[in-house]
Subunit: 272 residues, 2 copies
């Protein structure tokens, strides 16, 4: 029996933010598969009077290619509704006049086409998977250690994620590696950074207490959203682990079996 107290406040909601991988679909070979009921759940939210945005730390493809993949799975999603770290990073780099050395997945590189990358004065890392070779990590390290004041950006800080063939190390692990190597603290762009969630709220034109975040990552989705003043609900899909429900520092406002159940509860509270 799901705890339903969080849903009592659903009447005052104005917007919902959904994490994508692990909530809408499970990633893996061939791009992944939708989680049962989630295509329909997105459709129902879109038909309601709630605003809807998607917030992902996905960095293995450009936002355009990533959204096209979700559309092929049957999701009604457009690029302008999706917030991901790379476009946010590009904005920061341009604002501060920084020229990045990139250590990212090949598919993400085109996001940085408009950024000057000659004689780099900072390093940007994202989930690079097999590109996280010793050679490439050394290269990023040498750029950083050669700077008078090393600047390191990390697109997300996840520990690991789940693919259909098992757990894989995420960017946060390599962020910690370079932080230690160069004695610097990385600037995280993406969840759980408050500035990232705030940009989504700004786009909807609503206040934190009027928004609900739904994700499978207790720390980065739920904790990040709560830290920003939103409510956060965790789904028992994706990277969810039973031990999340007794986590020492983060307690979700609610835990539901999946997105379909969360949407049921929200919409029934609102009389849909």
């Amino acid at each position: 029996m799901a705890d339903t107290s969080w849903a009592d406040s659903a009447k005052s909601l104005k917007g919902v933010i959904l994490d994508m991988c692990g909530v809408l679909y499970d990633s893996g070979e061939g791009g992944g598969v939708p989680i049962p009921g989630s295509v329909e759940a997105v459709k129902r939210l879109k038909a309601s009077d709630l605003q809807l945005r998607f917030c992902t730390n996905e960095t293995q493809a450009t936002r355009e290619k990533f959204v096209a993949k979700l559309q092929r799975m049957g999701f009604d999603i457009s690029v302008s509704e999706v917030f991901s770290p790379a476009p946010a990073a590009v904005a920061v780099l341009k604002e501060r006049g920084l020229r990045p050395h990139l250590l990212v997945y090949d598919g993400l590189v085109p996001e940085f086409d408009s950024v000057d990358k000659t004689s780099p004065n900072c390093v940007v890392i994202a989930d690079a998977a097999d590109n996280f070779s010793y050679h490439n990590l050394n290269e990023a390290f040498r750029v950083l250690i050669g700077l008078e004041k090393p600047v390191l950006f990390s697109l997300g800080k996840g520990r690991y994620y789940k693919e259909t063939d098992g757990l894989k190390l995420d960017v946060g692990v390599y962020m910690k590696a370079l932080e230690y190597a160069c004695d610097v603290e990385a600037e995280v762009i993406g969840k759980p950074a408050s500035v990232f969630f705030q940009s989504v709220l700004n786009d909807m034109g609503i206040q934190p207490h009027e928004a609900l975040m739904i994700g499978d990552d207790l720390v980065n989705d739920v904790g990040g959203a709560q830290h920003c003043g939103m409510k956060g609900v965790q789904v028992r899909t994706g990277k969810y682990r039973p031990s999340d429900e007794r986590h020492p520092t983060v307690t979700a406002d609610g835990t539901v079996d999946n997105l379909a159940q969360a949407v049921d509860m929200i919409l029934s509270q609102r009389g849909h």
Copy 2:
């Protein structure tokens, strides 16, 4: 002009411990080259009434092959005088009945020949250089995260070292990566762990205040030795950087241009 106050106490010394890479030789292609004056300096120490041991975090080869390399460079060194992390790790593994998954340089694997490695219940990492691929780090991660209580050993915790073609990331960086991924704290075997220095002192049968450590790594050689009660002197060769002389937490008892100068100062104090 070198600061000479540390050498005043050279009269009461009974033993000297030398770091190897960056003090005796510079590593690099073809095995490396001796640092000028160091072959002769080792010879002079051996001819004195001081005991002499070598203490290294070298983990790219077995101790036998490593010592043979130094002998080819002209150093008068035998295997029994050299303390390195792998044999110390083997002793710990056997004592605690642990079966390691190894993420190490290919050349180091034979050190673990006598250890049972079936169905691993711990992970041992050492400087693995190109073996630090995404695939291999994932494999080590999956072993750890699959254990009820993950146990991680790191042979040293250096940030980086210098080869003739530039700086290279060291094992400590990957230790931090796995610590973050699995939320564990690694057990460090090798410098700067006090237990490692103490084993060298035990072998000489002397007290910490009767021994002097000479190394190029301010934190792991000098700081580690001082923490153990010894004096620590840094050489301005190897990975030495001028900023070491204004380090926020570690201050060497003395800084000398190279090993030859250190030995000159010690032996002249002792009337040689």
